[in-house]
């Protein structure tokens, strides 16, 4: 029931958010409110919750709750950052639609439903991409989005029908499994912008999307990747020549992504592009988890996905805040940013820590395990190379921040808190400026047309009047110089005199407005801290990643369906039971945190059959 509540909140929040789009304040209120409600629902998700909807059982696990909590929390925090740095239009409705789709996908016990829901969850990326108005870029990104959607749908359905059928009319059944594996890996690679397919992601980063990047490059790929990974050790863990060739192809893409993504991040000067390439580089680990095809890779992959969501969300928030605080996103302009905004520097350090960890930490070990299991022994050094390359571009960002501040950075406010120090005339002026600015802007807009018309009429009169008034004005101009001395005989400065006329509450509001860079920096630091905590196994992340999603437990393994390339030895799974065939019967009762990865012995629904080709049509889940 708690899962249904979460899904309903996401769906209605998305609809309300879209309906409220024309009204700026209302849409922000609806977005933040919906996300807060969704976060609360995700936090309260019962790990043993089950619900039957449309003859398909939806079941939650500890990890499902943790994953949805990480998604909603990162989105809510980013939207709060967006309230300060610039509201990301449509991000919240699109994200809520994605979260609903991901919620369906990772809780469904039916693989077709799970994969179709995962594919549907990728569609809202168009909501963010459609904001690009610059014509050539918008067209290219739009075409790329739709083609990616087509690939994701085709791959999902192909994978679903492949794993549902064991009676393929082909000589080698692993051929179909290999095709499904390649299709699914291609969908993950294209959706996450892995290196041969990175151009749309790079274009999106140049579009000035800011916070919107995170939906297309982080949240959607992780949701889809989680569903794809759920079968890594079961369906694709069988030996076969075709499958081995397919795995080699995906390994090549993963290695290219790990290396060239980091190189791309080092070569670019716009921090949005650096962030995009950094995200692209780290999606290589999702592909490595796919190629591992080992039950031991399941837990590190899940932990990596959690760390990836939060760390990259924090990185996108850091980039948006830095661009906003200094008015530029070019590294040339941002020289000395760290001196001016040390809190943002701390946040970046936290993000690096959450992404890379250190030897012995959970995230470091997870990355190492994925490299060890996903790549051949001879290229394990690439894992170290990827870490070093990542460090290189992060250190480059830091080094630029430690240089002598540029004019742009010197002109920015920075993280320094600004209050009303006694006698500080500058502070008083800032207060007045902050008070006046919004009013002046509004007034200028209203007055401009009237002023233009009046100026033409007044000009002759003003010329004549100026001649008469000049002596009086000269006398008046001399007067203000003597006024402060007479009014502030008690040696109070002008700022204090200003405060005397302004209420404390009003001063607080003004101070709140003055310190927005500080607020944004602290928010980013908070996200980075949460990301680092999760990456180090905090908040129960290590325990949650031990339990998989429902689909992991619903899918039993195919034990050597082709009976080849195994040296005549029975596979470990086959030794447990005769020849278990894959079935997807609904779970009688979910066992959330019990199994790290499915195995033949844990697959309660595996139906024995002598050979896959002679087996009857697979039992349908709830559709029968």
């Amino acid at each position: 029931m708690t899962l249904i509540v979460f899904l309903l909140i996401c769906i209605f929040g998305m609809l309300l958010g879209l309906l409220a789009q024309p009204f700026a304040r209302l849409s922000r209120l609806v977005a933040v409110g919906s996300l807060a409600a969704a976060l609360a629902a995700a936090l309260l998700l019962n790990p043993n919750d089950t619900a039957t909807l449309g003859e398909v059982q939806l079941a939650t696990t500890w990890f499902v709750g943790f994953f949805l909590t990480a998604l909603t929390a990162s989105c809510l925090l980013l939207c709060i950052v967006g309230l300060v740095t610039g509201w990301p239009e449509r991000l919240a409705p699109a994200a809520l639609a994605t979260f609903a789709g991901v919620g369906f996908a990772i809780s469904a016990t039916d693989p077709t439903v799970a994969l179709i829901a995962a594919a549907a969850a990728t569609a809202p990326a168009a909501l963010v991409a459609s904001r690009i108005r610059s014509t050539p870029l918008g067209t290219t990104v739009g075409v790329a989005e739709l083609r990616t959607l087509a690939l994701v749908i085709g791959a999902s359905v192909l994978a679903a029908v492949t794993v549902l059928n064991t009676n393929w009319n082909v000589d080698d059944p692993t051929f179909m499994i290999a095709i499904a594996f390649v299709a699914l890996a291609a969908a993950v690679a294209v959706r996450s912008g892995a290196v041969p397919f990175h151009v749309p992601a790079a274009l999106l980063s140049r579009s000035g999307e800011g916070l919107g990047l995170v939906l297309s490059l982080v949240w959607i790929p992780t949701g889809f990747g989680l569903v794809a990974l759920s079968w890594g050790a079961t369906i694709y863990g069988v030996p076969g020549d075709w499958l081995d060739r397919a795995v080699v192809a995906v390994q090549l893409v993963a290695v290219a992504t790990l290396i060239l993504g980091a190189v791309g991040a080092m070569l670019h000067d716009e921090i949005e592009e650096i962030v995009a390439y950094s995200i692209i580089q780290d999606t290589g680990f999702i592909l490595l988890a796919l190629t591992a095809r080992d039950a031991d890779a399941a837990q590190p992959a899940r932990l990596w996905l959690l760390a990836f969501i939060l760390a990259k969300s924090a990185l996108v928030a850091w980039a948006a805040t830095t661009s906003w605080a200094f008015g530029s996103s070019n590294l040339g302009d941002l020289r000395g940013w760290l001196r001016r905004s040390p809190i943002l520097g701390l946040a970046l350090a936290g993000i690096v820590l959450a992404t890379l960890g250190w030897p012995g930490s959970d995230v470091f070990e997870a990355r190492g395990t994925l490299v060890r299991l996903g790549l051949p022994d001879s290229v394990h050094f690439l894992g170290t190379a990827a870490i070093l390359l990542s460090l290189a571009y992060y250190l480059r960002l830091m080094a630029v921040g430690l240089l002598t501040p540029s004019a742009v950075v010197r002109g920015a406010a920075g993280d320094r808190p600004r209050w009303h120090p006694a006698g500080a005339e500058a502070a008083g002026q800032e207060v007045v400026a902050a008070e006046i600015a919004p009013v002046a802007d509004a007034a200028a807009t209203q007055v401009a047309p009237v002023a233009d018309a009046a100026a033409a009429e007044i000009a002759p009169v003003a010329d004549a009047a100026a001649t008469q008034v000049a002596p009086v004005a000269d006398a008046a101009a001399a007067q203000p110089a003597s006024l402060p001395a007479s009014r502030h005989a008690d040696d109070e400065g002008p700022a204090r005199s200003h405060r005397r006329h302004v209420s404390f509450g009003h001063q607080l509001r003004v101070a709140w407005r003055l310190n927005r860079p500080l607020q944004a920096s602290l928010l980013v630091l908070g996200i980075a801290a949460v990301a680092a905590a999760v990456a180090f196994g905090g908040f129960g992340a290590a325990g949650a990643s031990q339990s998989g999603i429902t689909l992991d437990q619903a899918a039993g393994p195919i034990a050597n369906p082709s009976a080849i390339d195994n040296g005549g030895e029975p596979t470990p799974e086959a030794s447990a039971e005769a020849t278990p065939a894959i079935t997807f019967t609904p779970l009688p009762s979910p066992t959330p945190a019990a199994t790290a990865a499915p195995s033949a012995s844990s697959s309660a629904t595996a139906a024995p059959s002598a050979s896959s080709s002679a087996s009857p049509p697979p039992s349908q889940t709830a559709g029968d």
Binding site: G54, T112, A123, S130, A150, G154, S207
Partner: protein
């Protein structure tokens, strides 16, 4: 008595052909809706009424989203490059192939579902290879419908939640297409530039008594690709830059405020490069105002 699944499969293929062949956007959307509605009925046994209702509502909503994106209806597809007959022949060939092949033996669903699915996938290939966003959306929708029919054929009857998920997916595709279409229409749907000499020549050939018609034909209908070439030529003469002007509803975005534009007196080339805003799209004003 013709089986409902067979009839629905034929309607699906006809709808697919109608969706990819014509240029008129309204007919394209109609064909798409027909295919989407009929696809839910290509099953044996038929799904529950609730599931069919969900699919039909999803198809209608998807069609409405595309229709809404089309605005007042002046919205066209690039159309098929090979013509409706060739598209129909290709679909028929794929249908026949689908009736004969048996990749899964025995099939868990009706064979006509496999045939119709293969025909829709064949029809979707060419639109997916193009750069017209509307046709791309049509292609993605047809591919999705074709895949759903393949699932029906290979895996048997589908549970209602799967039908609901498929309906949501169709709505998502249509929504994505409707969001991405307008901007790409502005970007790509431009008339090929006409050389001034050719344009003058074309204008000279138009009889003087047809001037009122010519003026009427030059009314702004930027997405009407089916307009005759003569009309386009006359429009080029009278409004040479009309096609490149954004629609009035498009807000002028990414324009930096006057206060944020730096004015540098007599800049040297190197200083000018450094001082000029490198990317106006990332100026402080666009990022939410000066802190």
């Amino acid at each position: 008595m013709i089986d409902t699944a067979v009839l629905a499969a034929v309607v699906v293929v006809l709808g697919g052909v109608v969706a990819v062949a014509p240029r008129d956007g309204r007919i394209v959307i109609l064909g798409l809706m027909l295919a989407a509605v009929a696809a839910s009925l290509v099953a044996s046994p038929l799904p529950s009424s609730l599931a069919v209702t969900a699919r039909i509502l999803g198809a209608l909503l998807a069609a409405y989203l595309l229709w809404a994106a089309a605005g007042s209806g002046w919205f066209n597809s690039a159309g098929s490059a090979i013509g409706v007959v060739a598209e129909g022949a290709a679909a028929a060939a794929a249908f026949v192939v689908g009736l004969t092949i048996r990749p899964v033996d025995p099939l868990a669903g009706p064979v006509v579902a496999q045939a119709a699915g293969l025909a829709l996938i064949a029809l979707a290939v060419v639109p997916l290879a193009g750069r017209d966003v509307f046709r791309l959306g049509v292609g993605v929708t047809l591919l999705t419908l074709g895949c759903s029919l393949m699932v029906t054929a290979w895996s048997g009857p589908t549970p209602p939640l799967e039908q609901l998920a498929m309906a949501a997916l169709l709505i998502g595709i249509a929504g994505s297409t409707s969001l991405l279409v307008p901007q790409s229409e502005i970007a790509t749907e431009t008339v090929e530039p006409v050389e001034p000499a050719e344009a003058e020549e074309a204008a000279a050939q138009i009889p003087a008594q047809r001037a009122p018609e010519k003026a009427a034909a030059a009314e702004p209908r930027p997405s009407d690709a089916s307009a005759p070439a003569r009309t386009i030529a006359s429009a080029e003469i009278e409004e040479p830059y009309e096609w490149f002007v954004p629609t009035p509803t498009e807000p002028a975005r990414r324009r930096p405020r006057a206060s944020t534009v730096r004015r540098v007196a007599t800049p040297k080339p190197a200083e000018a490069r450094k001082a000029a805003p490198k990317k106006p799209t990332r100026s402080r004003s666009d990022l939410g105002g000066k802190p």
